[in-house]
Symmetry: C2
Subunit: 184 residues, 2 copies
């Protein structure tokens, strides 16, 4: 059985700096109609930097939506027309000052499927060359280094809660456990 | 160093059926001001059902924001004042028709930290008793069963992309690999 919804009409409700909100009238598969309010977002890129010791770098920053600091992998939204891997490398350079000899695609994640079009393109950076961070104006982050095992412990105990960071750390742990990834 | 942003003023921009949008003027740590546009969401609960064979149940449903079906763990938004574990059990009963002897907290995930207050409370259901689904009106889902290993493969190859589903499957895989979880 294939599930579907067909758009009957669509209107712009809100146009913001980062995202806009639309409301669509949709035809459901039982012939009834409903409405969907959707956040339209340009998408983002995120990258987990890991060194040859199996240590990962996370950035600590204040997140207004939660009123406190969170620990995350470097990430940012895509600029118009920007290649996702290029965006991930740019964020790695801006937030951590790192470049990477090897970037592996960890596959995109859809953080909020119920009402938000955002796609986060996810990468693993290895073969790191470390330099000085180049934060955007108004961006304040602190880079912290953890053994991967400790970061995974922080995911399991709920100390790390950011969805993209949870996804990246756990994928890399499973790839290492399976022997499908090696430290470089 | 502690990072912070202080709210100077806040206004409602949009009030929807599921979420609202606010814009706040904030004081940054360098003394400058900026604006934050934030989606305010009531939060949700999600639950991964796993049987004593290590098979997991996922629901396939159409997601309007992506224009196609996605494979996810059962989930839904919290009703006002609802306990998150009770909400997770309710969704498990509605979408799959299951009750569970054992529900383990997999810790909350914040799917979209940059601009959305949503918290997803995550659980693992074991000791399943399977019955008939009780979908909400207008909700159309198909329940599918996979060995956990196959579901984890689907995460790693990008076939499963829903963030909460990625987080739950990978956490459970790592807990099993570490011997911190057993099949019941």
């Amino acid at each position: 059985m294939v599930h579907f919804e067909k758009t009957l009409s669509s209107e712009n409700l809100f146009e913001g700096r980062i995202f806009r909100v639309i409301r669509s009238k949709v035809l459901l598969e039982d012939g009834k109609t409903s409405h969907r309010e959707i956040v339209c977002h340009p998408g983002g890129a995120a990258i987990l930097p890991m060194n040859d010791q199996g240590e990962v770098y996370l950035v600590r920053q204040f997140r207004y939506a939660f009123g406190r600091e969170l620990l995350e992998i470097p990430a940012g939204k895509l600029e118009p027309g920007e290649d996702p891997e290029a965006a991930a490398r740019r964020e790695l350079w801006e937030e951590c000052g790192f470049s990477a000899d090897s970037v592996r695609n960890l596959m995109p994640v859809y953080p909020t499927v119920g009402y938000d079009t955002e796609v986060i393109h996810m990468y693993l950076a290895q073969g790191l060359r470390c330099g000085e961070a180049h934060p955007d104006p108004g961006e304040f982050v602190t880079v912290e280094k953890y053994p991967l095992k400790d970061a995974v412990d922080m995911v399991l105990c709920g100390e790390i809660r950011d969805g993209k960071t949870v996804a990246a750390l756990m994928k890399v742990q499973v790839l290492l456990d399976r022997g499908e990834l090696r430290l470089i």
